[in-house]
């Protein structure tokens, strides 16, 4: 059996699966009494798989969204895009590998693609800082947004970050300033902006490239104002209450459709997108092309105007005009 990453909530299932593997390695012909046991275990595993993956809680979805084998921005770019030209650097300080900006073609449509970039392995993750962006990364994205607008290219973004990096240098170089500028520019670009939540949507670092004219989310991705762990630490002084907080924060794709923030949800195979990346990516391609198609006809100024109206409606208040 190949070792695979086991999420917390998969553990009971994984243990039974391991046991089954072990049983199967025995010679059943010599141990006929085990045949029945194997059958029973198989049935139990089937039942447990249903109940484990059938309806995931918010916290379980957060775990799936962080699964190391989950398809990442780079996978989407490699699979969905052709004629890719990566654009590097902010032209002022550095090139942040935690964010990718590229000219890329999806289904014949020329676009500018932006995405948070996590690594496949530890080495890559260190280079890419686990998808946690520094100010120069946001400034690279801003540069790409301006380029897209100047040349009428729609923007497609892939959201997958635990959040903007909380470090000394990031603060020193104006993390808040860079994010604010990204929000400002993205809100005003006169080209279509289609966003896809593919994994983690951590706070301001996600939002900096994470809103537009259409927001699509994978079923097990999340998008949240704060990580469930940090929320639990602050409100309960107990990170162990993360699961509970995940439920309170309304951070799942489904919740966010209800709140009017997310437009569509891409279903994932049982267990998560990593169980069948090809199917998920082809569904994403279809949704993105659909969104781009629907937005293609609009006038540049009208696109930005509609995006403003869209943002304008978000929020639930009491009282109102007094």
């Amino acid at each position: 059996m190949t070792r695979r990453y086991v999420m917390e909530f998969e553990r009971p299932l994984a243990e039974l699966e391991t046991k089954l593997e072990e049983l199967r390695r025995l010679d059943l012909a010599q141990n006929p009494e085990l045949v029945h046991e194997v059958d029973e275990l198989t049935a139990e595993i089937e039942r447990l798989r249903e109940s484990t993956y059938g309806t995931l809680s918010a916290w379980e979805k957060v775990q799936v969204s962080r699964h190391p084998d989950r398809p990442k921005t780079q996978d989407y770019i490699e699979t969905l895009c052709t004629d890719v030209i990566e654009l590097h650097g902010d032209r002022a300080f550095g090139d942040d590998e935690a964010i990718v900006a590229a000219l890329a073609t999806i289904g014949g449509v020329r676009t500018v693609v932006l995405g948070h970039r996590k690594g496949k392995d530890t080495r890559e993750n260190i280079k890419r800082n686990f998808g946690m962006v520094h100010p120069e990364g946001f400034r690279k994205a801003i540069r790409a947004m301006h380029l897209a607008e100047r040349f009428g290219l729609p923007i497609v973004t892939f959201i997958d970050t635990p959040g903007a990096y909380p470090g000394i240098e990031a603060e020193e170089r104006g993390q808040a300033w860079a994010i604010a500028e990204a929000l400002s520019v993205l809100s005003g670009v006169q080209v279509p902006v289609v966003c896809v939540g593919i994994g983690e949507g951590g706070s301001g670092g996600a939002l900096a490239i994470g809103f537009g004219d259409r927001l699509i989310m994978l079923e097990n991705s999340y998008y949240s104002v704060i990580s469930p762990e940090a929320c639990a630490s602050i409100l309960h002084k107990d990170a162990g209450k993360a699961a509970e907080m995940a439920g309170c924060l309304a951070l799942t794709a489904e919740d966010l459709v209800e709140l009017g923030i997310v437009d569509e949800v891409v279903p994932e195979p049982l267990g998560g997108a990593h169980r069948d990346p090809g199917a998920v990516m082809s569904a994403v391609r279809e949704r993105v092309l659909g969104a781009l198609g629907a937005l293609a006809a609009a006038e540049p100024a009208a696109i930005a105007e509609r995006r403003y109206e869209r943002l304008r409606r978000i929020g639930v208040i009491a009282g109102d005009v007094g």
Partner: protein, 292 residues
């Protein structure tokens, strides 16, 4: 609650206050004092009010409530609040250690105001402005739907009436009890600030202690001119989060207004006593022409 109700509710308190149209200094009982958190010396409250809540011994800037801010910045008798009834709902039915509605009620009671920000029309150095001030006492002046909506309307009102915008920020960041509705206010307020800029209307922000997270990373720093108050803590990530992440202690003065000035993030650090004059002068430059 309208501004006049609000000031009425506050009448017994010791803050200087703008009551309806008239500036009224509330009576400060003799002998009431505060210990300065910076120099540990005793400061009599009368002295503190006189000195715009700056410690006369060490210059430490105490927190100011929204009414005091308005009083400090607006030309006397010019402030007229709008959107005073916009306040927070509890869209997620959020329950942390205590239910969000309870936190809201407590804050409304404690601060005698319905939300963490007060916005209104005013004049500063005779320039017509929209003035918005945040009050940290109100759930850390975190930005939920109501704060986001009020800030957005502040920009929109300024655009409609060709006014400048002056905002005094102070906030712990996004209001997590409203989940993603709160995060999205960052984009919404940033978009509104951008529209103001496109209209070439001036925007001056004053970063007061503390301004963190989603407020810093959206409308607060999108101003044409950014001032910060001495010693104010300003940044994106909170010091504790950073220390936990990098597993080392932060340098002294990290994320202070002075540190930000050194790192090119703000136009100046302005002591509170000079703030009104400085903002007024900036408006003289950016709002065009002479004072009326």
């Amino acid at each position: 609650m309208s501004i006049s109700d609000w000031f009425k509710a506050r009448e017994s308190r010791r803050y200087t206050a703008l009551d309806g149209d008239a500036l009224a200094r509330a009576e400060v009982p003799d002998g009431v004092w505060t210990k300065c958190s910076a120099c540990k010396k005793i400061v009599y409250d009368g002295q503190l009010v006189e000195n715009v809540r700056v410690c006369p011994h060490c210059g430490h800037h105490f927190a100011m409530c929204a009414a005091e801010r308005v009083d400090l910045l607006a030309d006397p008798g010019t402030f007229a609040e709008f959107d005073s009834r916009v306040s927070s709902a509890d869209p997620l039915g959020f329950t942390g250690a205590k239910p969000y509605v309870e936190s809201l009620d407590a804050a409304r009671e404690q601060c005698a105001m319905p939300e963490a920000v007060v916005c209104g029309r005013a004049e500063i150095a005779s320039h017509p402005v929209v003035l918005g001030v945040m009050d940290f006492r109100f759930i850390g002046a975190s930005m939920g739907s109501a704060v986001g909506e009020k800030i957005t309307r502040a920009f929109e009102t300024a655009i409609a009436e060709r006014r400048a915008v002056v905002l005094v920020t102070s906030s712990g960041g996004a209001r997590m009890q409203e989940g993603m509705l709160s995060l999205m206010q960052m984009a919404k307020t940033a978009a509104a600030a951008r529209r103001l800029a496109e209209e070439r209307l001036p925007y001056v922000s004053v970063l007061a202690n503390p301004t963190m997270g989603g407020v810093t990373a959206s409308f607060a720093v999108l101003a044409d001119v950014i001032f910060a108050e001495p010693g104010a803590l300003v940044g994106f990530a909170g010091p504790r989060v950073i220390e936990q992440t990098i597993k080392q202690h932060l340098p002294k003065g990290f994320q202070s207004a002075e540190y930000l000035l050194d790192h090119g993030m703000v136009d100046d650090v302005v002591p509170r006593g000079q703030l009104t004059a400085r903002v007024g002068l900036v408006l003289d430059y950016l709002a065009g022409g002479e004072r009326r």
